[in-house]
Assembly symmetry: C2
């Protein structure tokens, strides 16, 4: 049995925990904070496109804090620490320190199940002797109350090792950790695979490439819909499709290309994405949902980080620069306190 600790039990983390336990190859210790009391008592009710109706579900163990998740005689060292909290720089800075007692050197692999770009480096610096895995999730899953999860779009997960410190931590050891996680996760998706829901967990060689591919969407659709407070379909039907969205996507392609990822995103992908998004879509992207709920947005990892790469490489990004500056003000309104 793999011993896995999960920090961040939102819509993404909870489904990941369910899948891992379903594999019968892992047991999950979930660190819950605000939801600890209610989930400990009653579990979580999940309505899932992949896994059907699951009622009063609990992972192997629920603990109320990182401190209470520290390995001891009863609960030994973790094979994996899965981080599925929102990718907010300040939160991640403190979390990266706080999780130290959960990490056994040379043993615990850390998986970041988060949005954005450049999120692995701080972990790699802090934990040079541990494999860092990086996951790009395309799931549609959210809490609809303190203990109910609505999972509407299938779990499409790409996992890869973020190869680092290869001189002291053999590349093969890092790759092995990624392979091991993907095998367990895939086993947990057996029910969804049997039903043909489209769920999958794929091991990829270049996870950063997968991040750029997702950023083409997240850095443009997600940010513009948030700023304009409209759905994906409204953006596609509006004059902003051609005046903002298309140029923004081309700017993101230009940055990716300058960063060596031109094979992942190009004009053909832009065209395909624009034409493949129906004007009838009422989908409201994650950042917009955060704004509408008064929660901070994942602006830095989704837009700040690629723009910073672009700036260093001398890429001109007139649309995205202003979108970023405007969303920084939106973030300020969400985080400045009462």
């Amino acid at each position: 049995m793999l011993n896995i600790c999960l920090v961040g039990s939102g819509g993404v983390g909870t489904i990941a925990a369910l899948v891992l336990e379903q594999s019968r190859q892992a047991r999950v210790t979930a660190v819950l904070r605000s939801k600890y009391a209610i989930v400990s008592e009653k579990g979580v009710d999940i309505t899932s496109v992949d896994h059907g109706e699951v009622t009063a579900w609990k992972p192997y163990r629920i603990v109320p804090s990182i401190a209470s998740a520290i390995p001891d005689d009863q609960n030994g060292a973790y094979d994996f620490l899965v981080i599925a909290v929102k990718a907010l720089p300040e939160l991640m800075r403190s979390l990266t320190k706080d999780i130290s007692p959960l990490i056994t050197p040379r043993k615990t692999a850390i998986l970041l199940l988060q949005n954005g770009l450049g999120i692995e480096a701080p972990l790699s610096e802090q934990f040079p002797s541990n494999p860092i895995l990086s996951g790009v999730s395309m799931i549609g899953s959210r809490f609809t109350s303190a203990r109910t999860v609505y999972h509407e779009d299938p779990d499409e997960l790409k996992i890869g090792a973020y190869f680092h410190h290869e001189s002291s931590l053999p590349r093969e050891e890092q790759a092995r950790a990624a392979r091991c996680f993907v095998e367990a996760y895939s086993a947990g998706l057996a029910d969804a695979t049997a039903k043909g829901t489209g769920a999958s967990c794929i091991l990829v060689d270049d996870i950063v490439a997968a991040r750029w591919r997702k950023l083409l969407w997240n850095g443009t659709f997600n940010t513009l819909c948030t700023l304009l407070r409209i759905s994906v379909g409204e953006l596609i039907r509006s004059p902003g499709r051609d005046t903002l969205l298309k140029p923004a996507m081309r700017e993101m392609v230009a940055i990716a290309k300058a960063a060596g990822y031109g094979h992942v995103v190009d004009e053909a992908v832009v065209k395909q994405t624009l034409e493949g998004t129906p004007g009838t879509s009422a989908f409201r992207p994650s950042m917009l949902v955060d704004l509408e709920n008064g929660r901070p947005i994942e602006l830095e990892v989704i837009l700040g980080a690629p723009l910073s790469v672009g700036r260093k490489l001398g890429v001109s990004t007139p649309v995205l620069d202003q979108v970023y500056a405007l969303l920084c003000v939106v973030q300020w309104t969400l985080t400045r306190g009462p």
Copy 2:
């Protein structure tokens, strides 16, 4: 007695009608549409910083349509037609045609009491033998119900002739119309002047200069507050003050300078405006109030028109270009219908 017709009885138009009638030098025919029945029956209750409490007030005559305002044997030709409707291009295009029967050639002067830039030219083309007057109003006044007006900031009005067709319409004739209107309006402000509220009606030589001066504020504070849905004070306190507002103001100054109005707005005015706007201000500019009420915004005359001038003169406006493109989408959401 001056015979004046008013089209557009919102917060600005209603106070203008009150002032003109208070002068005892003018009688006003107000064209009301949605408010015709209620105002005909009960009049308007006005709470005014300049004029105190005025209850059940009605102008000399109220008519339900432009057609019913057409001069006849009882109500002769108009000396002035005051247009105080929102400056929306489509609305103004149809209105410019509709008002023809109200305009007596060589007699009726047309006063535009509206926001923005470039609003006089279509009227000047349509009515080459009539004086066109242009008014820049700094009043704070709005309807708070169908028949109540709250007028909180004093009436500061600048009026000037928009000199046009001078070969056929002597400049002096145009200037005289402006002077005549300002005299009547100033007489109507006597009560406010006696109280020292700060109300004033000033005749200016170059009304286009006054429009650029107001645009420096309207094209920047107004547009950014609308896009970000925050008050003037929040914008000033936010990081957007330096990343968006200041560069946007400098772009507006650059356009004005290229257009020959560098003597009206410059870096000193930018500094003074930024430093003179308190971070405690809860003021929500007119465009934001329109957005919050689901009404179309005055985007073209406030931002589209100066940007078009800038484009022709080769001025670079990276911030305002994106703000405009984004607000075009906002306008689309407000006007696309159900």
